[in-house]
C-alpha cells in the first residue's frame, strides 16, 4: 500500500499538512495558466494579477483549514452549514446589497454571496442525510432530498442568479446520482425537465430569454446581447492551433472582448494559446477531476464517497457550463471558469472544496483504523 512507500521530505510535509500532492499539482497548473491569462486580459497590469494572487492566498488558507478538519466533523456540521446558508439567503432577499441589478450580496463584516456557501451546504447536508440510510435511496427519501435542493435553488433563482441556481440543483442531483438513484427515476426526471422547458421560458426574465434567443442567432443583435458571443467566438476561432501568442491576442488586447478577465477568460486562452493551450488547460482540469474521482472511489464511507464524488463532478460541470457558454453552445449565464476567472468568492468556495477532498484522502487511514 502507498502508506508503506518511502516518502521524501516533501511527502512528509504534505502528510503533516493533510495535503494531496497530485491534487495540488493539478490545481497549481491551472492557477499558473490563470495568472498568465489574467495578466494578458488585464492590459498587462501587474497589480491586478497580484490582487488575484492575494485572493488565491486567502482561498488556499481555506483549503489548508478544511484539509485539517476530519470528515466526521464535516458530516456533523452539514445540517448547520445548510441551515446557516438558508438563513443568509433569506436575509439577502430581504436586505441584501444590489449590484448590477441583482440582490446577491450581504455584508456581514465582509461582503459575501451566501449562494456560494450553499454550493458546499447542499452536498454536505445531503451527504449527512444519506450517510446512515440504506442506498439506493427510497422514494420518500428522494422526495425529501428534492425539497432540500429546490428551496435554496429557488431562493437563489429569484435574486436573480439563474446560473448559480442551476449549479446548486446540479450539485444536489449529483449527490443523489452517486447515491445510486434508480435509472428509471433519472429517466423520469429527464423527461420532466424536458417538459418543464416551456414553463421555464414563461417565468424567465426578458434578459434571460434574450440570451437564449441570442445563442440561436447571435448575429441578430451584434451590438447588444450577441456581442459577447460573437467576439468570444472570433477570439477563440482566430487563435487557431497554436494561438496568437501570449499578450498578442488582438481581440483581448484591443478590448473587443468583453468580460475577458472574468466569465470570458477562456476566450483569451483560446486566442493567445490556441487549440493546444485550451487542450492543455482542459487536460489539467481533467487531471484534477480524475484525482478527485479516485479519492472518491477510495473513500471509506458513504458520506465521504458522496461528498468527494459530488465535489469532483460539480467542478467539471462548472468547467463545462463556462466553456460551452464562451464557445456559444450554451446561453450566457454568469458562471465563471473555475480557478481561472478573476474574482474571490468562487475561488474560496472551490479551494474549500478541494480542502475537503484532501481531508477525505488524508484522514482515510485514521478512519480505517
Amino acid at each position: 500500500m502507498s502508506a508503506r512507500v518511502e516518502v521524501g521530505p516533501l511527502g512528509r510535509v504534505l502528510r503533516t499538512l493533510h495535503l494531496d500532492g497530485l491534487l495540488l499539482l493539478g490545481i497549481g497548473g491551472v492557477l499558473v495558466m490563470s495568472l498568465l491569462a489574467l495578466y494578458s486580459a488585464e492590459s498587462q497590469d501587474l497589480r491586478e494579477v497580484l490582487s488575484q494572487g492575494a485572493r488565491i492566498g486567502v482561498a488556499f488558507a481555506a483549503l489548508l483549514v478544511l484539509a485539517q478538519v476530519p470528515p466526521q466533523w464535516l458530516r456533523t456540521a452539514g445540517p448547520f452549514v445548510y441551515a446557516i446558508g438558508l438563513v443568509l439567503l433569506v436575509a439577502v432577499l430581504l436586505k441584501g446589497e444590489i449590484s448590477m441589478g441583482a440582490r446577491r450580496w450581504i455584508d456581514i463584516g465582509i461582503r459575501f454571496q451566501p449562494s456560494e456557501l450553499m454550493k458546499l451546504g447542499v452536498p454536505l447536508f445531503l451527504g449527512w442525510l444519506l450517510h446512515e440510510r440504506p442506498l439506493p435511496p427510497s422514494f420518500p427519501l428522494v422526495l425529501g432530498t428534492l425539497v432540500i435542493i429546490l428551496v435554496p435553488a429557488t431562493l437563489i433563482a429569484v435574486q436573480p442568479d439563474l446560473g448559480t441556481s442551476i449549479l446548486i440543483v446540479l450539485s444536489g442531483a449529483i449527490v443523489i446520482f452517486f447515491a445510486g438513484l434508480g435509472w428509471k427515476y433519472i429517466a423520469a426526471a429527464a423527461a420532466l425537465a424536458a417538459a418543464a422547458m416551456p414553463a421555464l421560458w414563461l417565468v424567465m426574465h426578458d434578459y434571460q430569454r434574450r440570451r437564449v434567443l441570442t445563442l440561436l442567432d447571435p448575429e441578430s443583435d451584434p451590438l447588444g446581447a450577441g456581442y459577447h458571443i460573437i467576439q468570444s467566438k472570433i477570439a477563440i476561432g482566430s487563435g487557431g492551433l497554436f494561438g496568437k501568442g501570449w499578450l498578442n491576442g488582438t481581440q483581448g488586447q484591443l478590448e473587443f472582448l468583453p468580460e475577458r478577465h472574468t466569465d470570458f477568460i477562456f476566450a483569451v486562452i483560446g486566442e493567445e494559446f490556441g487549440l493546444f493551450g485550451a487542450l492543455a488547460l482542459l487536460a489539467l482540469y481533467l487531471f484534477v477531476i480524475g484525482r478527485g474521482l479516485v479519492i472518491a472511489a477510495n473513500a471509506p464511507d458513504t458520506f465521504t464517497r458522496l461528498l468527494a464524488g459530488t465535489l469532483s463532478l460539480t467542478f467539471f460541470c462548472y468547467i463545462f457550463v463556462n466553456t460551452a457558454m464562451v464557445m456559444g453552445l450554451l446561453p450566457v449565464v454568469g458562471v465563471p471558469l473555475p480557478l481561472v476567472s478573476a474574482g474571490g468568492t468562487s475561488m474560496v468556495t472551490l479551494m474549500a472544496g478541494f480542502g475537503i477532498l484532501m481531508s477525505i484522502q488524508t484522514h482515510r487511514k485514521l478512519v480505517a483504523r
Binding site: 427510497s138 472570433i234 476561432g237 488582438t250 473587443f256 483560446g270 487549440l275 487542450l279 464517497r305 467539471f316
Partner: protein
C-alpha cells in the same frame, strides 16, 4: 422504524458507487469530447473565417471633426473664428502610472490643482484605449514644460487642433456665447455619429442656439491599426462637412460703443432695426471673456464668476426682468386713444398726487408740485404720473394689459436665442394663480393705478423693451427680433439671407393716434419741458425717446455683500427708450441700467451714443 426493513449493505453500496463513478467518468469523457470538438470546429475547421473576422476587427473608424462655422457681424467683421491651438491628449492604456502622471502634469502647471479630480473622473469615464483631450489651449510656457518632461510622460501627446477664438474678447459675449467640452448632458441632445470627432459644443447664446448650423457633420477615416492600436494605413476617407458661417445682424462698432458706454455699470442695451427686426446691438454688462470659457475655464475661476455680486454670466438683455417705469407711458397713452378713453386734446389737471374715490391713499407724482394742466403729448413730454394714474383706472387692467401685450410684453419676443425670459403683464386672472393666500389673490384697484406708470407687478426684459420701441417706431408693424440674418457657405462663399418674419401688428392703425404719442416722445428730447432735452441737442437727425425710472424692490441679501454694495443696489433702475431718425426710423434702442437712478441722465446718453454709432458709421 421503516428503515430497519432494509439493512445497510456496505459492500453492495460500494459496488453501486463504483458503478456510478464509472458512469460519471463516461459523462466527463463525452462532455469533454464535446468541448474538444467545439474547439476543433472553431480553431481548425472555421479558423480561416474567424481569423478574417479578427483582422476585420483591427480596422478602426476614426472620426474627422468638422470645421466650425465662423460668426460675422453685419459688416463682415469676424466675431468668432477658429485658430490653431495645442491640446494635450492622453491614451490611458499607454500610461504606466496614471496617478503619478497626472500629479506631474499638475506640478508642471498644465493641470490646475483644483481640476485634478475632474480630470481623474474624465479618465475613469473613458475607455482605456481611447485617446482624448485632458488640457486645451496650452500656452507656450506649458508647451515648453511638457517638451522637457516628455520622456517621463508616455501615453501623452500634444496635438494641434482648431480652437475657437473671439477676436473682440469680452465684447458681445452675451450675444455670441462660447463653446466648451461636451458634457454628459450635452451628449443626450446630440447625434453621437455627427459629434464623433468633435470635442467642443456651443454652450450658450448664439453658439448654442445655432449649434446645428455651426457644427456641420463629422467625417471619418477607415484606418488599419495594429495590435497596439497604432495607425498603420488609411484605407478610405469620408471628409467632414464644415459648419455654415453665421451672418449676424449685430453691428460690431455700435456694439463696442454700447458696451463701452455701459462699462462699469450693470445693465443692458438692445438696438433693433424697426423695419425688419434685425438686432443691431445686444449688450449686457458686466460681460465675460468667452476665450477663457472656451479654453476650459478652471473650476475655481468659474466659481468666482458665478459668485460675483455683479453676476457677469447673467444675460441681462435676454433674461433680466425689470419694471419698465415710465417708458411704457406712450403705449398706455395709445391704449387710451384706441379704446376712446382719452382724446389727445383732453387736458388733465396734475396737482402732484392722485387718489381713488373713497380712498385717502395718495399716489404721488414724481414732481411734488405737479405739472399743472397737461394734454396727452405733454403728459409724455413731462412724464406726468397723475395723467397715467387716471388713464389706467379708466382703461382698467384688462384693457391696459391686453394692449401692452400687443407690443410683445409679457411673452417671448421669439428672438433666435434660447433662454428668453417672458417678463410679466399682470392681470386679475394671473394674480389668482400666482399667489397662494386668498387675500393676496384679489386684484386691487390701486394695482391698476400704478401699472399705468409701469410699476407694480409689470416686468419687461431689455429685449422686450427694445422690441416694443421698434414697434412704436414702425407705427405698429412688428417683426420677430433676430440676431442671425443669413448664412454663408464656407466653401463657395455663397450667402443666403433670411426674410424678415412679421408678427401680428398692433390693433390700432389710426395714423393720427401714432402721431400723438410719437410727437410726445419727440418732445421728450426737444420740448421746452422734455425730461431728456439735454440729449437731443446737436444731432444730425431728430430722435424720439422716453425716460423711465423703476423702483427696486428686492436687494441681494447676505453676509458676503457689504453695506455700501447693498445701499448702492437699493437705488432706482434707470431706463431709456429711443428711436431715430424720426421721419424714417432705422434704429430703436432700449437701455436699462441697474441702480442708475435717472433714466434721462444716465440711460439716455447711452441710447444716444448707440443711435449715433448705428446711423453714422465711422467707415
Amino acid at each position: 422504524m421503516a428503515r430497519t426493513l432494509r439493512i445497510k449493505d456496505a459492500w453492495a453500496e460500494q459496488q453501486l458507487f463504483f458503478a456510478r463513478v464509472l458512469v460519471a467518468v463516461a459523462f466527463v469523457v463525452v462532455a469533454s469530447g464535446l468541448i474538444v470538438g467545439r474547439l476543433v470546429q472553431l480553431q481548425v475547421v472555421e479558423y480561416d473565417y474567424y481569423s478574417q473576422q479578427s483582422s476585420g476587427n483591427t480596422i478602426r473608424v476614426v472620426p474627422v471633426p468638422p470645421i466650425r462655422g465662423l460668426i460675422l457681424d453685419r459688416h463682415g467683421r469676424t466675431l468668432a473664428e477658429n485658430t490653431p491651438s495645442y491640446q494635450l491628449e492622453i491614451t490611458p492604456e499607454q500610461v504606466p502610472d496614471l496617478p503619478a502622471t497626472l500629479e506631474r502634469l499638475v506640478a508642471i502647471g498644465i493641470i490646475a490643482p483644483d481640476d485634478l479630480q475632474d480630470v481623474k473622473n474624465l479618465v475613469r469615464s473613458r475607455r482605456k484605449f481611447d485617446t482624448f483631450v485632458i488640457a486645451e489651449r496650452l500656452t507656450d510656457l506649458q508647451l515648453a514644460a511638457f517638451a522637457v518632461q516628455r520622456p517621463w510622460l508616455p501615453g501623452l501627446e500634444v496635438q494641434a487642433r482648431l480652437g475657437r477664438r473671439y477676436p473682440l474678447g469680452p465684447f458681445a459675449s452675451h450675444a455670441l456665447g462660447y463653446v466648451g467640452g461636451i458634457s454628459a448632458d450635452d451628449m443626450k441632445e446630440l447625434d453621437r455619429a455627427a459629434y464623433a470627432g468633435t470635442s467642443q459644443v456651443g454652450k450658450i447664446s448664439i453658439e448654442r442656439s445655432y449649434e446645428p448650423d455651426l457644427h456641420g457633420a463629422s467625417g471619418h477615416e477607415d484606418v488599419v491599426v495594429n495590435a497596439h492600436g497604432r495607425r498603420i494605413e488609411v484605407l478610405g476617407r469620408t471628409p467632414s462637412t464644415p459648419g455654415r458661417d453665421l451672418l449676424l445682424s449685430i453691428d460690431a462698432d455700435a456694439q463696442l460703443v454700447a458696451e463701452n458706454a455701459l462699462a462699469g455699470r450693470r445693465g443692458a442695451a438692445v438696438a433693433i432695426d424697426p423695419r425688419n427686426g434685425e438686432v443691431l446691438v445686444f449688450a449686457s454688462v458686466p460681460n465675460y471673456d468667452p476665450n477663457i470659457m472656451s479654453a476650459g475655464i478652471g473650476r475655481r475661476a468659474y466659481a468666482a464668476l458665478q459668485e460675483d455680486i455683479d453676476r457677469p454670466l447673467f444675460n441681462r438683455a435676454l433674461r433680466g426682468q425689470y419694471p419698465p417705469g415710465s417708458t411704457i407711458k406712450p403705449m398706455v397713452a395709445l391704449a387710451g386713444l384706441h379704446h376712446e378713453v382719452r382724446r389727445a386734446t383732453d387736458r388733465v389737471w396734475c396737482g402732484g398726487s392722485f387718489s381713488l374715490p373713497g380712498s385717502s391713499h395718495r399716489y404721488r407724482d414724481w414732481k411734488p408740485e405737479g405739472h399743472g394742466s397737461v394734454d396727452m403729448t405733454g403728459s409724455i413730454e413731462q412724464s406726468c404720473d397723475v395723467y397715467y394714474y387716471g388713464l389706467a383706472r379708466d382703461l382698467g387692467i384688462e384693457r391696459l394689459g391686453g394692449f401692452l401685450q400687443q407690443f410683445g410684453l409679457g411673452g417671448n419676443t421669439g428672438l433666435d436665442m434660447a433662454g428668453e425670459q417672458g417678463g410679466l403683464v399682470p392681470s386679475p386672472a394671473w394674480k389668482k394663480t400666482a399667489f397662494k393666500s386668498r387675500a393676496n389673490q384679489v386684484w386691487f384697484p390701486g394695482e391698476t393705478v400704478i401699472a399705468g406708470i409701469g410699476q407694480g407687478y409689470l416686468l419687461v426684459t431689455p429685449l422686450q423693451l427694445a422690441h416694443a420701441t421698434a414697434t412704436i417706431a414702425a407705427r405698429g408693424q412688428r417683426f420677430e427680433p433676430r440676431l442671425v440674418r443669413g448664412y454663408r457657405d464656407p466653401a463657395t462663399g455663397a450667402t443666403e439671407y433670411l426674410p424678415p418674419r412679421p408678427l401680428p401688428p398692433v390693433a390700432d392703425q389710426d395714423p393720427a393716434h401714432w402721431d400723438v404719442i410719437i410727437k410726445g416722445m419727440e418732445d421728450v428730447l426737444y420740448g421746452g419741458r422734455g425730461t431728456a432735452r439735454a440729449i437731443g441737442a446737436a444731432a444730425k437727425y431728430r430722435m424720439a425717446g422716453k425716460s423711465g425710472t423703476a423702483q427696486v424692490f428686492t436687494v441681494a441679501q447676505g453676509a458676503k455683500y457689504n453695506a455700501a454694495q447693498v445701499a448702492e443696489r437699493r437705488r432706482d433702475h434707470a431706463l431709456f427708450i429711443a428711436f431715430a431718425p424720426l421721419e424714417d426710423p432705422r434704429v430703436a434702442v432700449a437701455v436699462v441700467i441697474e441702480n442708475g437712478e435717472s433714466g434721462s441722465k444716465v440711460a439716455a446718453p447711452v441710447a444716444r451714443a448707440i443711435i449715433e454709432a448705428v446711423l453714422e458709421p465711422r467707415t
